[in-house]
Amino acid sequence: MSVNGSSLIDRTNGIITLEEIRKYNGYPSEERFSKGPVPIIECIEEIPCNPCETVCNRNLIKVGTPITNCPRLIDPDGECTGCAQCIIICPGLAVFIVDKTFSTREASISLPYEELPLPEEGESIIGIDRTGRAVCEGHIHKVLRNRKFSHTNVVTIVIPKHFADDVRHFQRRDK
């Protein structure tokens, strides 16, 4: 019996897998991805937390009561504007926005970035997956500095579309 966390996920190394996300919280369909940017909330445990629900001004994220419900994306028609407020507010830095409509062969991934130095737009990077492994190359598309919302910056990277469901971090080439 797992002591904590939903008892079904593999807790032996802290790595969360795409299958687990699909199984416990749902992962958007390719049909939904085709409509534009999609918030991906990789938070699949019943922990008491709902800022992602309250911050979305289009009410596309549902936690409900009790606040230990896992957050679900209720946005079949693709109304997400990619404003990234959910990325900024998440205490677990677990929200990303994936836009598979970025270009024919590329997808963009917006992710929270709270480290220094900030990357520069256009800089080439290496895409890192959920296990911390380098999987592809890409570049920095946009850097949203965020002093107003206490420093959770949002960096948007562009990578080959094939890796859009795996890359959740990046490494700067010169590092």
């Binding site: 802290g14 445990e45 937390c49 709902n50 205490p91 830095l93 220094l116 890192i128 971090h169």
Partner: protein
Amino acid sequence: MARGKGLTMKTELAVIGAGPAGLCAAIEAAKNGVDVTLIDENRTAGGQLFKQIHRFFGSEEHLAGIRGFEIGDMLLEDAEKYGVKVLLDTVVWGLFPDLKLGLSDGKSVTIMEAQKIVVSTGASENSLSFTGWTLPNIMGAGAAQTMVNVQRVLPGEKVLIIGSGNVGLIVAFQLLQAGAEVVAVVEALPEVRGYQVHASKIVRMGIPILTNHTITRAEGDTRVRQAEIAQIDAQFKPLAGSETILDVDLICIAVGLRPLAELCWMAGMEFEYEPQLGGFVPLHDESMQSSIDGIWVAGDVAGIEEASSAMEEGRLAGVAAAVSLDKIERKLGGESMDQARLRLRALRLGPYGDNRQESKERIIQRYYAM
């Protein structure tokens, strides 16, 4: 021990410890017209809040999504707004049965007489003994967090974290933010202990979490230089041949916290042993009243939880004290205490919250069985 001048100060409510729980207790009581004196031995108030640079969990009413130190600033503003008298650099060296406190500011010793008291003295980190554990730069994970986020000094560049609870996982990330390289997080049990979101974040950033592993030895001279970790079996025995040597210059121990309850012991409170809440915790009822009439407990001293729960327990105790001082009408006070209890209940749900909730219920049952 400066010659006891024995000057006596008086106050309606003395709150010992100006962390999240103490600040909230002081604010809630002062809001209702209580003359509150908030005492803390540190130079600044806020306790653990000012080293917590992550955003808090919970819901909007728990100030979720706001960083710990920002909540700290908000609470300090409220404390000033509602006229809380704050005594900093002042140690409470004694809590005496007749609701008297022994204070010392390093120069003189005074006795404070309070009509009511809230003890919110927080917690201290557990340690872990292994060969070489006393070497300099082997410290508590919270200690490293204080050094980095409050003192703005990075004690080491290559770090090993022991323990994968939320503190270990969060401090691993915050050391990364400060520019250190976290070599690994080792966890003796087969499963990661902290929230999955915290674990996944540091794994994707290149910090491996090694379960069924622990530290077996640390080497160094005037500071730690190397750590030896090894795989362990179900009886925590290292498996021969599984040792690896890591070059590290800082080791953070994150193996839980325990209540700082010396003053509660001194006042003669009744205690219960609750491992989920960090060890021996003072008995209290559902409005945080301890086994000593007129003394409430709130925050980590009453059981190790996060700062959000500490704040709610503080509000609960603050209102309860105001009611018992007849500063608010019982019914109104009862309603606001019920609100605080609902917010607390919301935080004690889910697989992480359930066993803390059970422990708290046992404590309240034991209180009434006294």
